[in-house]
């Protein structure tokens, strides 16, 4: 139970629910993206830029990025608490995951609002 301090929501049930909610968001985003790319084989820069300039698309994309990060955190936390027994190594691994997650969020926001 000691390790629950690093879990995403401090509660197994909450993490369980978040993992499924974020999974559905990612499912929707993946299907949308594959559909869009399949329907626009001759995609050009202006069309691509316009797609990501809309507020709805930016919200959807940021939601997907945040979902991806939360989903990855819960997943990596589960794997590391199962398989990395040494506290120091586990802490290091989880810190690296947390840093990467933070970088992805900032980078994602910068890409979306930088265009």
């Amino acid at each position: 139970m000691v390790t629950s301090i690093t879990s995403f929501g401090r509660s197994g049930l909450y993490d369980w629910m978040m993992q499924r909610v974020t999974a559905l968001v990612l499912l929707a985003y993946t299907i949308f993206m594959i559909g869009y790319l399949l329907m626009n084989p001759e995609l050009d820069y202006n069309q691509w830029k316009e797609l990501f300039s809309g507020t709805v698309m930016r919200i959807f994309t940021l939601l997907a990025v945040l979902s991806m990060v939360a989903h990855a955190w819960i997943g990596m936390w589960s794997v590391s608490t199962d398989y990395i027994k040494a506290t120091g190594a586990r802490f290091l691994f989880q810190s690296a995951c947390g840093l990467l997650a933070f970088i992805y969020v900032v980078w994602g926001i910068q890409i979306l609002w930088g265009i």
Partner: protein, 86 residues
């Protein structure tokens, strides 16, 4: 993936560079296919997981069948993704 997205949205030249990289470079295609393969398998295994959360296929026989179906669907999707990329 973020790197390619960032490059493709940066400017017309960046978009051309990203598109060229994914059309000309074998290594870029291989990396893209590798990432997409892992994501596709995770995608279908996740859907199977959600179906099991709803209470289906939880017995030994149906569970094994669902696992095999997941593997086959993921395999087909990965092959199709390879065709799409190349």
């Amino acid at each position: 993936m973020l790197y390619v997205l960032s490059m493709s949205l940066e400017s017309q030249a960046g978009f051309d560079r990203a598109a060229e990289m994914l059309q000309e470079s074998f290594l870029a295609k291989l990396i893209a296919w590798g990432l997409v393969s892992a994501l596709l398998y995770h995608f279908f295994a996740g859907i199977k997981h959600l179906i099991m959360d709803l209470g289906h296929c939880e017995e030994l026989d149906s569970g094994r069948l669902a696992a095999k179906v997941t593997l086959v669907i993921a395999g087909i999707a990965i092959l199709l993704a390879g065709v799409w990329i190349w």
